[in-house]
Amino acid sequence: MINTKPIPVSRLQPIRLLPIVVLMWGGCFQLRAESYHFSQIVSGVDRHHAMISKATKDPFGMIWMLSGSTIFRYDGVNVTPFSRLYGDALPFYEVDQLHADPWGHLWLNTRNGIAIFDLHTWKFVSHGHRLAEFVGQQLIACFKSSDGFFVADKRGMAWSIAARDVQLLFRFDPSNVDQRRPVGRMLVADAEYVWFAFDDWLHRCDRHGQHKTQVRFPPGMFSRIEDLLPVSDGVLVRVYSQGYYACTGETFTYLPRSVFRTNDFTNWNHWSFEEEDKIIAFHEDRYLEFSRDTAFRLLATGSHQLDHHILYKRLNGWQREQDEWLLCTDQGLYSVFPTRIEFDFYDSGSARGMIKQQGTYYFGGYGYLDRMGHGQVLERYTAMPENNYYAFLALSRDTACIVLEGDFLAYLINGRVVPARIDVSPATPEKFTGMAYCVARQSADTLLVGTYNGIWKYALSTGAVSPLACANSGFFSRGMRVQSIRYHAGELSFTTDQGYFTWQASRFRKVYPTSEANLNTYAHAVHGNSVYLATKGQGLVVLDKLGHLTSAIGVEGGLASDIVYQLAWVGDALYLGTHDGLSVLKGDRIYNFFHTDGLPFEEFNHQASYYDETADRLFMGGVGGYIGFRPSAVFARAGDPLGGPRLSGFRIGMKSNRYVDTYARSQLRDTIQLPKDAVWISLGFAQPENHRQGYRMFFRIAPLMDAYQEMPASSQINLSGMSAGDYRLSVKIQAASSGDEEAVRTWLIHKPPVFTETLAFYLLILIAVGGITSYILYERARKAKGEDRLRRRISRDLHDEVGGLLTGISMQTDLLRIKTDYVHSPAVDSIGTYSREATQMMDDIIWAVDSRNNVQGSLADRMKLLATQLLEPLEVVITFDVDQREDRKIPQLVRQNLYLIFKEAIHNICKHAHAKTVHIRLHHTGRRLELTIWDDGVAEAQVTQAERRKGYGQRNMQLRATQIRATFTSGRTETGYEVSVVVPLHRARFWNWFRD
């Protein structure tokens, strides 16, 4: 799509042109920088429709095209029909003129008259709008300048349209309309006058509409007019069969110029336009600059290829837009624009190294040398043999060494190529190859030559060639293609197809890459304490003096390419010839230059750079030859003003296979509301001026991305699976030649939550979970409370009902016994005894069942009471050791069983131990409950009794201990008998909180 061939231009005066033409004819060619460049914007609106009849650019950088009476928009990426962009039915079917005014209106001349589309509101102008009076009128001509817009309509009125007002400039007679519609312009304006050619009359009016004149065209001229060009003191009229006429407003003057070799001024042979104080003309293959006045003086000439590439494709129209011209042809749309930097171009063919000797430049490469002397004319140096001249090294003022890819070395002595003597010892064990690529001087008589098989020493005096080897490392560069060599202060550094190496004091070291991986490294340069490597794949690699990686700058870092073939330091700037343009590193900023900046080619070559310090010119060679330029000139160029990023298309995919496609309305909004059920969105971004490579585009989506990424070539961002929330899409446009200049625009994309993403949904989930948990807790609490109440009721009933009855029986037997007529009866005694025992037992049961007694002190008190009741009558000394550090309740089951174990133990002591002393220990440590009952009872009796009771008491106590997961031990000690129970209380405590 983009033509990289230059439009070469010579700025020499005509009188000096002849010898140059003669030299060129003789095979000498010196070509200077071109002033204008061109590139194809689009090859057509689609694959089958290449013809563009009109094109214009709106203030946002979008190009609007007319093809086959249909309007299309080109956003730098895609061509989209206006009908699709508009969304609704268009109020017309056919359009024959299309203009964009500087204020965001599209003027369309349709079969039904003028329609004006407002790009800001994305609506057609209607009643109430200041331009409404033009709607429906027939348009004759329009002209757009940088500061105005002029319209001539079929009512016979010429208007000046400004940002806020509309002014009638003059009236003309529209009745006798000549239907001729030339490709060029019939309505033009400059700072002073508006010129309008219509119906055999040339109208002139000042910009304020106060002074109007008109002059009739000479007979037959109007029907042959092709274009009008406003000049300082009049207007130039291009007549396709004769050339130019000048008109000052009163008369016409023919301007024949011999430089036009033919009188064919038709659009396929000639095109011209006004530019500041010049008229630029492309006539056949000649480039011409004339003074912009009625004198029409020739200022400069050159050659061009515009005729071949554009004019022959049939011009259908042209439109000036800022600093470029849009040229509509039958084979697409082209842009012609001025180059910003004047790189001198030397067409020496595919370039390699070069050198300057005695004022003459010698350009290497494949085939003949090219040379350029003081006359600044490049010539092919056919007197010298053809060879592969790869690199040069100056040895003295009149002698240079030439590195040959094939023949190893030669000399350039006083401008003549002299073969070098090469004496390779047959005894050398290494394989010598003449494929040499670089050279450096090791000593006065020794050169180091980098070849396809390592580095070889060359003795200037004898021509002896030997491999560079040392005792420690041998022939360390064996098998390497050596591409650059530097020898300084005893240290050799070189780059090869495997990486960057050093050799010093017989120590050979691979510096970069440090791993086993190979990296093709074309060149290296030392500057300050850093080493700069030109690599294939990692761009520019910077190492510190120890060889540690400092940085690697590639495309992502702003370099033109990841492949760097050559580098040259000039002052404080590093110039890098890359695979895709020229990059310059200065400080921490990177400047890039492409063919649109004036480079005649973008792919540079290895070893093809040379800085002429005396002339302050840097030469850099590539596939098309050499460029030469003043190094500091590249920083003087002003960058293009960056327009803000612009959304060009917006598509939303929703559930149920629904799809929304809005191409343009969305670009007007900064906040984009997505539907709730959006599952996929695609955003397309315009890339205005894409054909001029002036910027790079990056994007970032917060919170999905932390840093900017380069915009894909499709300029489209797709997002799927978006959760509810806000997404900030930022698009940044950054000038290609500077990291500083940038424009950022941010869109807020809001996706509302579906129900499952709302707080309400999560609340429902939590309420459900909490409700279930609470219900479980509530039920357990209710059950526990009910159990406690039941226990209390039972104990109360037992106490009140049964307890009262038993107490009554006991009292009755006691009363019976104290009666005077009582006859002793064992049965009555038994009743009394049993009833008291039953009362006691029931009291224990009531105490055990009642959950209110689960508090700590209750158990200890009860134990004390029982022990006192049973043991004191036996005159047993009782000691208590109660320690309750915890005030937490004792579980019901534990308390009940522990008490019964205690009771059994005390009963055993009473009945069988004959003890004098009993020691009771109850300790609650929080983690466990420990009960120990010790007595000093008689051993024999206890043994006898113990054996007898083993089936009852012991077994019951063991069983109760097991129920409460306690450890039970009993048996004799040295001083008595001991029963011990240890109850763990914290096992599964958390769970028991919920379970209890």
């Binding site: 919170p703 509810a724 929330g725 993403e757 707080l759 609340l763 309420i767 915890e886 005030d887």
Partner: protein, 250 residues
């Protein structure tokens, strides 16, 4: 909406502060362990809301030293409210030693705020700038010994457990046995219900973030969600300040 959220929260803070002051001024409350615990919890919640507002409005940038200091306090909210309910129902004769076990997460919080506390003021200001720019930095920053989001997870998990214990305590209450006045029981049920609502809204927002981590910043600033939390906080603090205080007699 944003202003409404801030306004309601400020009102809530005012009620909380008033509630605390009244409980401190009144001798009957000042000597009550349960009310002291409630004061601690109220202050912690109030501080939490205050810092959140500072972040939301960006003012935290001017007072970076305030940030992160409340983390230990937030761990006290749930146990204090639980113990408040428990001691209101069963006033202790003396505080058991094991009560200090509930302060273990507080100690954990104190340790974890040290890295930020000892950071330089430049670092603090930089963090506050990041925080205001992206509020999710609050649980993503590196100033702590544990990943900061664990504070939210642990705090809310503990709050859930304590809340269940709180409800269990209320459910287990046998009024006829304990002799607790019906008014107190009703008051504690209301209090626990409001606190439950307040907590559930917070946990709901956390769940929303957990399942939509990418949009955490948006969720944390979403007025449509914050308005409910603000309302709940306002009602909760107003109820604590005015409701029981006016009716309660000892």
């Amino acid at each position: 909406m944003h202003d409404l959220v801030v306004g309601l929260a400020i009102l809530g803070i005012a009620f909380s502060a008033l509630g605390i002051i009244l409980r401190i001024v009144d001798k009957r409350f000042r000597k009550d362990v349960a009310d002291t615990l409630l004061n601690v919890a109220l202050f912690a919640i109030m501080w939490h809301v205050f810092i959140y507002l500072m972040i939301l409005t960006g003012h935290i940038q001017h007072l970076p030293n305030l940030y992160n200091k409340g983390i230990p306090l937030y761990y006290l909210i749930a146990p204090c409210l639980y113990l408040y309910v428990r001691y209101r129902l069963h006033p202790p004769k003396r505080l058991p030693a094991r009560i200090y076990l509930h302060a273990f997460p507080f100690a954990f919080g104190v340790v974890d705020i040290l890295p930020y506390a000892f950071a330089s003021s430049v670092e603090k200001e930089a963090l506050m700038h990041r925080l205001v720019d992206n509020i999710s930095t609050g649980f993503e920053h590196e100033y702590g010994f544990v990943p900061q989001h664990w504070h939210y997870i642990i705090k809310l998990s503990l709050a859930f457990v304590y809340l269940m214990l709180q409800w269990r305590t209320l459910f287990r209450l046998d009024r006829e046995e304990a002799g607790t006045p019906g008014r107190v029981v009703t008051e504690l049920y209301s209090f626990t219900s409001l606190y439950t609502l307040f907590l559930v809204l917070q946990v709901g927002m956390v769940f929303n973030i957990v399942f939509n981590r990418v949009q955490s910043t948006y969720i944390l600033q979403d007025s449509a969600q914050l308005i409910w939390v603000s309302c709940a906080y306002l009602v909760f603090s107003a109820w604590i300040c005015l409701g029981p205080l006016l009716r309660r007699t000892k």
